[in-house]
């Protein structure tokens, strides 16, 4: 039963990733694209955690934590870039 639920969840998250990519490509303005990238990294964390459950190992959780840390800094940097026209101040 758990395996079925796991596969259904992976399918749903993958579909979510595809929808994010649609917004990333279409998104009329730059903030929409950054928002899509922000959602993409959060979904990537979900996929890594699901992969860890599937394979029964906790080795990948550090990678997920790493993506959470670096993704946030990346989003802040890109929002800063949009606001000032340059990344730095």
């Amino acid at each position: 039963m758990m395996v079925t639920a796991l596969y259904i969840t992976i399918a749903m998250v993958t579909l979510a990733v595809l929808l994010n990519v649609y917004r990333l490509i279409k998104g009329p303005d730059a903030p929409d694209r950054v928002l899509a990238l922000d959602t993409l990294y959060i979904n990537a964390i979900a996929l890594i955690v699901l992969l860890g459950i599937t394979l029964g190992t906790r080795m990948y959780l550090e990678a997920a934590l790493l993506i959470a840390v670096m993704g946030f800094v990346g989003t802040v940097a890109m929002a800063k870039y949009l606001k000032r026209g340059s990344v730095i101040e």
Partner: protein
């Protein structure tokens, strides 16, 4: 494995996947940037949170101890999601992104 733990894991996984999907649907189909902002900040954060908690339950029933990494991931996501949403909203207001006709009120000019 304990059947109750298994039910809980399945339920949390499905809820998490559903919310992640709903967040992405919101991102894809809502009319303007500020309404799209609501999908990722709430639905996706809650969805990933539920998936991560199901991972905590799974590995602790396998006897591998309670994972601090999962708790750190959840805490980190819930701390950072509002900040990045706030930042993106500021950037969008600065760029004067279009809003839909039926939205009331206007962001003030900075």
């Amino acid at each position: 494995m304990n059947p109750y733990a298994e039910y809980a894991i399945c339920l949390l996984l499905l809820i998490g996947g559903a919310f992640t999907l709903v967040g992405a649907i919101g991102l894809a189909r809502l009319p303007d940037f500020f309404t799209r902002l609501h999908g990722p900040t709430k639905a996706t954060t809650v969805g990933v949170g539920a998936i991560v908690i199901s991972s905590v339950i799974y590995f602790s029933t396998l006897g591998q101890g309670i994972g601090i990494e999962e708790i750190l991931i959840t805490a980190f996501l819930f701390m950072t999601a509002p900040v990045s949403a706030n930042f993106l909203a500021k950037a969008a207001m600065h760029l004067k992104v279009k809003t839909t006709e039926n939205s009331r009120g206007q962001p003030w000019d900075q």
